[in-house]
Amino acid sequence: MAEEVLRVKDLEVQFKTAEGYLSAVRGISFNLKKGETVCVVGESGCGKSISALSIMGLLPANGRIANGEIWFDGKDLVKLRQDEIQKIRGNDISMIFQEPMTALNPVFTIGFQLCEPLRIHQNLNKTVAAKKAVELLKQVGISEPERRMKQYPHELSGGMRQRVMIAIALACEPKILIADEPTTALDVTIQAQILDLLNELKQKFNTSVIMITHDMGVVAEVADRVIVMYAGEVVEEGDVETIFNDPQHPYTQGLLASVPNVDREQEELTAIPGSMPSLNEKIEGCRFHPRCPFATEKCKLQHPSMTMIGNHKVRCWLKGGQVSDDNINSQRDAL
């Protein structure tokens, strides 16, 4: 079995709001192995980006990690000082974002922005860094890399900018790449190209990838393992075949049923009824029960914990879930 590169344990993230501290991420745990791609899926607002930003130490100013540990390279990232985590960001752990159009600084050249991580983390001088940057641009499939170095972001298309972002993220050959919906803002053909590129580079450098998406098509294409999140919690986790062929949680089943599928053209798409609760909504019992077609009395009252079923984990009473106290803790902290 491949070695573990990242372990997130009971991570809880809160935001300071007018109503006090509210939890956006409620005690999630997962690990990531070397060379593995884990997809984090779930509806908008379930806490995917916030979880990722916590790992990077880049939470918005009103956010805080209230609880939990993030173990990387023998260190708990939660406890590191700013200058210590700066040495890890862009070097050992990199991140690319959803919006390539705004992710690059409009007033600096591509070359400057691409050389920055090389100069910071590898102490390369200008000429050496520039040489390496040109190489990187070639690797991410950008034509005429020497000319691109001198261009500004507005002179490049969205797909090209995302390629540049990938080059920046991979510049220092990080151990972990976090990609937060890297293709959502791009059109379909470009999406496929970017995914192929990520797959190819990942294999080349044996990078571990955390891919955030709400597109099950993307999951099918890149994932080794899938983490399904709902309202700040992990509700199901398993390898990609099991999740697709044998989803256990009603929420996962709903997500999969709402994906268009050429094989079942005739069938209607079934969306999950209702919507994600907002941060300030208090929900007793299972957080999914208000939207769950199978909810029982027990689901309304008691919060289930993660249970192993075969080789996957699920948080559901119908699948033999156990009473957990972690939800009680997070409710208390929220007050």
């Binding site: 070097n91 990199s94 992710a103 409009p106 600096f108 991580p117």
Partner: protein, 313 residues
């Protein structure tokens, strides 16, 4: 860029013709006869008619205007009614003082305004922010002459640290520096305040931008995130404000020069207006308008230097 500069220069010519017309007419229509001022209280009617003839004021106003324009085209700003010396020469003698004052004030407004704005934005809602926004608001509202008088009272009269007035050397020399401090702060405070406010709001907006998050994600140190990635972007609107302020600043030199007894173009203008010295006033206004237009042109050039997305061609 070059085409833009040429275009602006052509615009400037038309603008200046328009300005001369307005100022010329305004001066001639306004009450008060230069001839009787020059002649003094003892002058007889014939004296005054003679003076009017000598100055060419007896001709129809349109002819006078065309004559003036003709002179301008040949680089001749006319002769002062008061001193009988060339207007260009009179202005030229005083211009260094005014330029000194204006430039020093802009420097003051940049040196105070930009750091204050940045600190405010970074320490948003802290006591420092509240203090600086309050001071900024005060700085915008306080009139120059009052501030100048207070400064003189405190730093020149009571503490005797700085001279009461006058300006006899460029601001970068020791003597000039001492002489310019109070006037430059007096004149620069308002625009420092505006610059601070603009810097603060621009920084607050930029700090939330996606590319700032990208910079942090790359491991860029916080100091470089602010001073490299944010500042250059935030400067785009700030440069506009500084450019616009310059217009107000030129107007402000008139009062500031008066308060601090600086022999500059502003003071010359006041004297010329009360003496109905038409050519002198027109010359001064033309000069100020030209400087204003040139400064705005410079601002647009600086724009293009800061922001690669701007392309004037």
């Amino acid at each position: 860029m070059f085409a833009m500069i040429i275009r602006r220069m052509v615009q400037l010519v038309f603008l200046l013709i328009g300005i001369t017309f307005i100022v010329f007419m305004a001066m001639h229509i306004a009450p008060g006869d230069p001839a009787s001022i020059i002649g003094g209280p003892t002058a007889t009617k014939t004296d005054i008619i003679q003076i009017r003839e000598r100055l060419g004021l007896d001709r129809p106003i349109i002819i006078q205007y065309l004559d003036y324009l003709n002179g301008l085209l040949h680089g001749d700003l006319g002769i002062s009614f008061q001193t009988n010396r060339s207007v260009a020469e009179e202005i030229w003698i005083r211009l260094p003082n005014t330029v000194n004052l204006a430039v020093a004030s802009v420097i003051v407004s940049i040196l105070i305004g930009i750091p204050l704005g940045i600190i405010s934005a970074l320490k948003r809602n802290s006591w420092l922010d509240v203090f600086s926004t309050t001071v900024s608001l005060g700085g915008i509202s306080v009139p120059h002459f009052w501030l100048g008088a207070i400064f003189i009272l405190i730093f020149a009269v009571h503490l005797k640290w700085l001279p009461v007035g006058g300006l006899h050397a460029p601001f970068w020399t020791p003597q000039g520096f001492k002489e310019i401090i109070l006037p430059a702060i007096t004149l620069g405070t308002g625009s420092a305040a505006m610059t601070a406010r603009m810097t603060r709001s621009a920084m607050l907006e930029i700090i939330r931008a996606d590319f700032v998050r990208t910079a942090r994600a790359k491991g860029v140190k916080e100091r470089a995130v602010i001073w490299v990635h944010c500042l250059r972007n935030a400067m785009i609107p700030v440069v506009t404000v500084i450019g616009l302020n310059f217009g107000g600043l030129l107007g402000g030199t008139i009062i500031t020069e008066q308060v601090f007894a600086i022999n500059g173009v502003g003071r010359l203008m006041i004297e010329s207006i009360s003496a109905r010295d038409f050519p002198m006033v027109q010359g001064g206004v033309l000069l100020i308008a030209t400087i204003f237009v040139v400064i705005n042109l410079l601002v647009d050039i600086v724009y293009a230097l800061i922001d690669p997305r701007i392309n004037y061609d």
